[in-house]
């Protein structure tokens, strides 16, 4: 991984009076129950992680798990109670109001679950809003916003008001607005949760297309594990404010760290998530058959080919070099084994 963009060091967010004092007294040992008895609610509990440039970190958790709170600490919409947050090396919590506004105007974009569009502005005015706030003049900001309208495929609707758009279209506006200032860091807070399943899938694909093109550093919040698997470079699973596990999708599916995480992985169709690379044998045995598969293939796509082979199949990398092997039994074990009875 290259340089770090977002860095959190044991971030805490505790709601309630005396939260700061209680946190100090707790000495890094925060127990949600004792805090609750004293009238405090723990939102985020000792979160430490890094997000590298161009990486997409998906934070997954059910409602009340503190995932949105964590995002709001990092965008400093709320102030973290304890810990340190660095954005490109700058200490976020040390910034004064002006520096914070500067940071938001130039570096950050955010998309919201309920779209949060301004009802009195048209699509293009909504998108141009962050630019105008920055002080860019009307003509320039509108022409820039029009580029964004095209990027998210809303051409022809730029003069509609948000109330005249469907949910999916409104969220496209939200996405375009967050991208208008060309931020390096992109926060998305359950952007697709309020949409119908079909539209959601369409938007996810659209989102992947955009990310492919733009390569932003992303923190993406969701309560949908499948969505997390589909989009993420790495997933952080949260429960009661604690990050239970932070890893790549494949590793989470193969090695759930806690019982809680395992419950999510149980129902996941592994063949759709895992790559050949994740399940292959590192040893290159001599009895390889003729078939070769790429290490970056999803199991589902090559399973049929491998299963019809009798011999072990060789796994190759980009340079057609054999780096491992996989035999049909392994595929069957991966797909059907280890579901109900642990491993």
């Amino acid at each position: 991984m290259s340089d770090t963009v977002i860095k959190c060091e044991s971030v805490y967010k505790i709601f309630g009076q005396n939260a700061k004092k209680m946190l100090q007294e707790a000495n890094g040992n925060v127990d949600a129950k004792t805090f609750q008895e004293n009238g405090c609610i723990v939102g985020v509990n000792n979160a430490s992680f890094e997000v590298a440039k161009g990486e997409m970190l998906v934070v997954m958790g059910l409602s009340g798990s503190g995932k949105s709170t964590l995002l709001r600490c990092i965008s400093r919409l709320t102030d973290a109670t304890g810990g340190k947050i660095f954005i490109e090396g700058q200490d976020l919590l040390e910034l004064n109001n002006k520096e914070l506004i500067d940071l938001r105007r130039n570096k950050m974009g955010m998309v919201f679950q309920s779209f949060a569009l301004l009802p009195h502005k048209t699509v293009v005015e909504n998108i141009a809003f962050p630019l105008q706030i920055k002080g860019i003049n009307t003509d320039e900001s509108i022409s820039k916003a029009m580029d964004m309208v095209k990027l998210v495929g809303l051409d022809g609707r730029e003069n509609y008001f948000p109330r005249e758009l469907s949910g999916g279209q409104q969220q496209r506006v939200g996405i375009a607005r967050s991208l208008a200032v060309e931020p390096d860091i992109w926060f998305l807070d359950e952007p697709f949760s309020a949409l119908d399943p079909l539209i959601r899938k369409e938007m996810q694909d659209e989102f992947l297309r955009l990310q492919d093109k733009l390569q932003k550093t992303i923190m993406f919040i969701t309560h949908d594990f499948d969505e997390a698997l589909k989009l993420a470079d790495r997933i952080a699973i949260m429960k009661d404010g604690v990050i239970e596990q932070l890893d790549t999708p494949a590793k989470i599916v193969l090695n759930p760290a806690t019982e809680y995480v395992r419950k999510f992985t149980e129902e996941v169709p592994r063949e759709k998530v895992l790559l050949i690379e994740d399940v292959m044998d590192q040893s290159t045995s001599n009895e390889l058959g003729d078939l070769r598969v790429s290490k970056d293939e999803i199991i589902e796509n090559v399973a049929e080919k491998i299963l019809t082979q009798e011999k072990t199949v060789g796994v190759i990398d980009k340079n057609n070099k054999i780096i491992g092997s996989i035999n049909p039994t392994k595929i069957i074990n991966t797909v059907f084994g280890g579901r109900k009875n642990g491993n």
């Binding site: 919409l77 950050m108 955010m110 919201f112 309920s114 949060a116 301004l118 003069n159």
Partner: protein, 717 residues
Amino acid sequence: MEFLKKNSKIFQWLFLLIIFFALCFAIEVPETYKFIRGQAEFVKDPNQSTFVFAGKEVRYYAFDVFWRLPPLLGWLPIWINDSLFFLMNDWMPMEFWNEDTQEFKTRPLLLQISRNLTAFMTFIIELIREILLGGLETIVAFTSWDFIDANPWAELPGLPWTIVAAGATILSYKLSGKGLAIFAGLTMVYISIFGQWKPSMQTLSFILVAAPLSFIFGLGLGISAFKSKRVEKALYPILLVMQTMPQYAVLVPALVLFGVGDHAAVIITMIVAIPPMILLTLLGLRAIPPEVIEAGKMSGCNNWQLMFKVLIPTARRDILIGVNQVIMVCFSMAVISAFIGAKGLGFNLLLALNQLNIGLALEAGLCISLIAILLDKMSLAWANKQNDYFGNLTFFERNKNAIFFAGAFVVGIILAYIGTFLFKGTFNYLFEIPHNKGISTADFWNKGVDWIFETFFVYIKAFNTWLIQEVLQPMRALYLRMPAVATIVLVVGAGYLIGGIRSAMVVCGLTLFIALSPWWDRALVTTYMATFGVIVSCLIGFTVGTLCFQSKSAAKFMLGVCDIFQTFPSFVYLIPVMMLFGITDTSVLIAVIVYATIPATRYTIEGLRSVPIGLHEAATMSGVNKFQRLTKIEFPLAFPHMMLGLNQTIVFALFMVIIGAFIGTEDLGQYILKALSDKNGAGIGLTLGICVAFIGLIFDNLIRTWVGKRKKHLGIA
């Protein structure tokens, strides 16, 4: 025992009532007690006792403490009065430059502020008035009377009525469409033809000053309350009291501070109109989804940009509903402030009522109601209007309304100019139709009233006598028979049973204030009249509301009727009742009933409507018939909302009872009216107003607490 446990609340209430009645019977009426009428309280009487508090002597009739508490707060009005006078006349004398005499003069600070404010207000009102009607004052303000003498042409000409009418029509069209535009046009033509143009424009200019100022201050205070918890906490009790304070009562202190005239009326109107604006601003800003605020912050807004580019535009609708409220209050005050010399329709209305010229009163009342309805509809249309996109329209399409108005302006001026030739020697009817030259229907109405009186006199009189002798007098006697201690026990007990110790304390404080003021008897009379009005209003309102709810179109129609009736300035209600019942308590009570039935009906319909559709369907599927559905499902669920209607009904009834003093009642209102013409009335008026407000707040507190609990219980909070 089991029964007792199950219905413990009922037994608690029964117990409270038993204590109350026991106290009522145990405490004898003192032999010396009589209801004091008229001026007796201000005449020194050897039977009176006195006490001195903080240098103020308070005289009162002493009774057994259980019967009536001594007026320990009797010094309060005197003290308020003295402080006001001290502040105005003696506090912080300073040197001020006097333009007229060209020298420094020593004046108390507050007096100077008041003078400056007065001058400022007078200037704005005159400016707008002269734009509408023409005049000299504005030019004089910039030059001098000598200049006017030297240049007789220097005069603001005033707009011909045709231009104002066209302007109103075009604006209505822009805001709402054809329907409202036609209504606006007809209203303006009506006003003009019936010779009410001048007073109407005077009233309008008064509102055009008071409403925007109230809006600005209300918005500002609302924003600061939204931003700071401390400001909100400081404003909250004032807002609460102002909501139940009769508008009458604020007039008196204003009289002392600002004197008599339009400027004082504007200032006092602002004081009454600002609280609802603050409340609605706060409501609107609170209702903004948090994500929109976050989106604004993430776009990099600073505080100023966040407020004016994100928050206020998003809360636009609620804020404009606030404007609508402000306008309605302004109309109501336009009449009431005629008492302190505001010119216009209100003044004419008051004068006509005083002379018992029902016809004239009806004309003025109709005019003011029409303008009120028009402005109400216009401001609502503005609030509900969604802006459209203009970017791809041509210049003409974008500015067509302005162009039309410019056209109408020119045409109007040309017409008025032609008029000078057409009506040589008489009045220029195309410029302005003078008050006495319009068509007047007053005679017709007066004859009608006479006819009604002659024809139905016997029946009306019989009804009147029956009502007063059989219902009102006994009821009033019963209320006056309640010993103070028993009443307090009843009210506090009710507070405790409904809202626990906290509610009991609040209610106790409010009641004690009234009991310790010198006007407990009067407050009882006010309460009796309000109670009678509320009971009848609720019966009518709940029945009518329930019946109308059965059909969708009837419900819609009824809500529309309620809307229109609510728009009428409260004083207007006195006209028809005086027409029919003359000057009696019955008139007041009928006005109270009509006025207070509006919220009762409205909330009944709205409450029944708010029952979720799903429940209707569930009920229908369980096979209930219409009546069962009403009694088993709709009423229980709608009841909390209907109780809020009761709350409003009480407030409305109290307002009208107080205004009824104009016809002649023997309650708190009578004293407020009296305080208006009393040199030392400021303290009395204010204290009386607070008393009325507290009566309202006692019920308000009890009902709101109950509704809150009930809603939580039903899970529809």
